[in-house]
């Protein structure tokens, strides 16, 4: 907890800094007249066409799902990499490598299957 206290303090300071900048900008900023045209969404000056909440390609969702799977698999490698040197020093290098080889085989199979099933094709 004491290790994370400075992080919280810094986050609060940075947020205050940002809010202060925005406050100053609203204080010194020009006070123009607001019109409907000015407040409309910016689309290069032409009339606003469609609403932003139209259909969004499902690919983005699929990418996010695949990211979660692979990212968790990669995070599992971090403790392994951290302990690797100690295991080798203790003469147990073969065992920890073997365990990881099984894990990596599943990882590579998953990646290969994902590419093969055209989950990552953007057209």
């Amino acid at each position: 907890m004491s290790q994370l206290l400075p992080v919280v303090v810094l986050a609060i300071f940075v947020a205050t800094f940002g809010l202060l900048l925005m406050f100053l900008a609203s204080l010194f900023g020009a006070k123009g007249k607001k019109s409907a045209t000015k407040l409309s969404s910016y689309e290069c000056g032409v009339e606003v066409a469609a609403s932003p909440t139209t259909k969004i390609p499902i690919k983005f969702y699929l990418t996010a799902i695949l990211f979660i799977l692979f990212d968790i698999e990669i995070i599992f490698m971090y403790p392994w990499a951290l302990a690797y040197g100690d295991f080798i020093e203790a003469g147990l290098g073969i065992y920890i490598s073997g365990a990881m080889a099984v894990f990596l085989a599943i990882f590579i199979f998953g990646l290969f299957w994902e590419i093969k099933s055209r989950a990552l094709e953007w057209e």
């Binding site: 004491s2 290790q3 994370l4 400075p6 992080v7 303090v9 810094l10 986050a11 300071f13 940075v14 947020a15 800094f17 940002g18 900048l21 925005m22 100053l24 900008a25 609203s26 010194f28 900023g29 020009a30 006070k31 607001k34 409907a36 000015k38 407040l39 409309s40 969404s41 910016y42 689309e43 609403s51 932003p52 139209t54 969004i56 690919k59 983005f60 990418t63 996010a64 990211f67 692979f70 990212d71 990669i74 995070i75 971090y78 990499a81 951290l82 690797y84 040197g85 100690d86 080798i88 003469g91 290098g93 073969i94 990881m100 990596l104 990882f107 590579i108 590419i115 990552l120 953007w122």
Partner: protein, 387 residues
């Protein structure tokens, strides 16, 4: 944050100074970017306001302050105003965890009729045991700012920019995380100070269980992990949404992407976030692959502190830390210049090419790098002769 009032206040000041230093570097980098692009494209660039156009930065800040503040009628007011503030936080938090120089040792002294015990101040905002994981976690929070900005603006260009940005950031996060496994295998530590300390001496590694030393080369991670370094640096370009991966703000298709509706200081805060990300990326490259704040034969912690041997230990430690900080910043600025250089040299990718590069090229290469590193380390470090 410390045991007594002196330590707490120094730690707090240190945190704020490092953050303000980061913010101050942003206008300077914008100037470098504009002058650099002009240099590359054979133009002059901003050169009218002040010497070399340096006062342009101040003029820009005044202009940002005097811009009119308004929320588009369709936008969500709360999200619209929170997004730029959130854009500032991840880069600042990540930058604070990276050591920028050697720690400063303050010997015990007497002041105001009290004894103040010896202190050690790390040259970073805070030391966290799981440094690498913390920096990765904090800097990937930046995707939230982009999504909030895109959603809060309620403009279809903003929303598409935000979607592209988040999909791209998470795709390259994989290659980024995986290329770091090689660094972890090499140094077996999550702590930046430990990683820098291991790179301080001459090149020295185990060859089939025997220690080999190459006296004329520094022990930098780059010599062991060249492919990992290239992959990591490429992934950082995508993470900070810089050209050639700046699809989120491809102005030919999306006006300006997620910050289409933003102006004035709010837009500037997104820029501070982006440049802050570049600084974090450069600092990480320096720390992991290029020896952190030391350059082995000439500028190591021992050789620099021997310059200041006639001072008191506290002063010598302070001066050493400052010199080593300049060494670190020189390396960081070199990487930042590469960011600018690449931006004005390479064209933009198409979106499917970008995703293909991330998933089908960089991820398998990073995986191969991990496997080869693990096998080589296993063969080299195992004591084959027994006992």
């Amino acid at each position: 944050m410390g045991s007594d009032i002196f330590e707490v206040s120094v730690n707090f000041l240190k945190m704020i100074v490092i953050f303000l230093m980061m913010v101050q570097l942003v206008p300077l980098l914008v100037w470098v970017e504009r002058r650099g692009s002009a240099f590359i494209q054979n133009r002059l660039g901003p050169n009218r306001v002040g010497p070399l156009g340096l006062m342009q930065l101040l003029a820009d800040a005044v202009k940002f302050l005097t811009k009119e503040e308004f929320v588009p009628a369709k936008g969500y007011r709360f999200l619209f105003y929170t997004a730029p503030v959130i854009a500032l936080i991840p880069a600042a938090l990540a930058f604070g965890a990276i050591p920028l120089s050697a720690p400063i040792r303050v010997e015990a002294f007497e002041w105001l009729g009290r004894n103040w015990g010896p202190y050690t101040f790390a040259f970073q905002s805070y030391e966290i045991g799981i440094g690498i994981v913390f920096v990765l976690g904090a800097s990937s929070l930046a995707a939230y700012a982009l999504l909030l900005a895109g959603y809060g603006s309620n403009n279809k260009y903003s929303l598409f920019g935000a979607l592209r940005a988040s999909a791209q950031t998470i795709s390259y996060e994989l290659a980024l995380g995986l290329s770091l496994v090689g660094v972890l295998l090499l140094f077996n530590s999550f702590q930046f100070s430990e990683i820098v300390a291991q790179q301080a001496g001459p090149m020295s590694f185990q060859f089939l269980g025997k220690q080999v030393t190459v006296p004329f080369l520094p022990n930098w991670g780059f010599f062991y992990q060249p492919l990992g370094a290239v992959l990591l640096f490429t992934a950082f370009f995508a993470e900070s949404n810089r050209l050639p991966f700046d699809l989120p703000e491809a102005e030919g298709e999306l006006v300006a992407g997620y910050h289409t509706e933003y102006g004035g200081f709010k837009m500037n805060m997104f820029y501070i976030g982006e440049y802050g990300h570049m600084m974090v990326a450069s600092a990480l490259m320096t720390t992991f692959y290029f020896g952190g704040y030391t350059i082995y034969p000439w500028l190591t912690q021992e050789s620099v502190s021997s310059w200041f041997s006639q001072f008191t230990p506290t002063q010598a430690s302070l001066l050493t830390a400052l010199v080593l900080h300049l060494v670190f910043m020189a390396k960081v600025l070199l990487f930042l210049w590469i960011f600018v250089w690449v931006r004005w040299t390479l064209p933009r990718f198409r979106y499917d090419q970008l995703m293909d590069l991330g998933w089908k090229t960089m991820l398998p290469w990073a995986l191969g790098n991990t496997i080869v590193t693990a096998i080589v380390i296993l063969i080299m470090r195992t004591n084959w002769s027994g006992q």
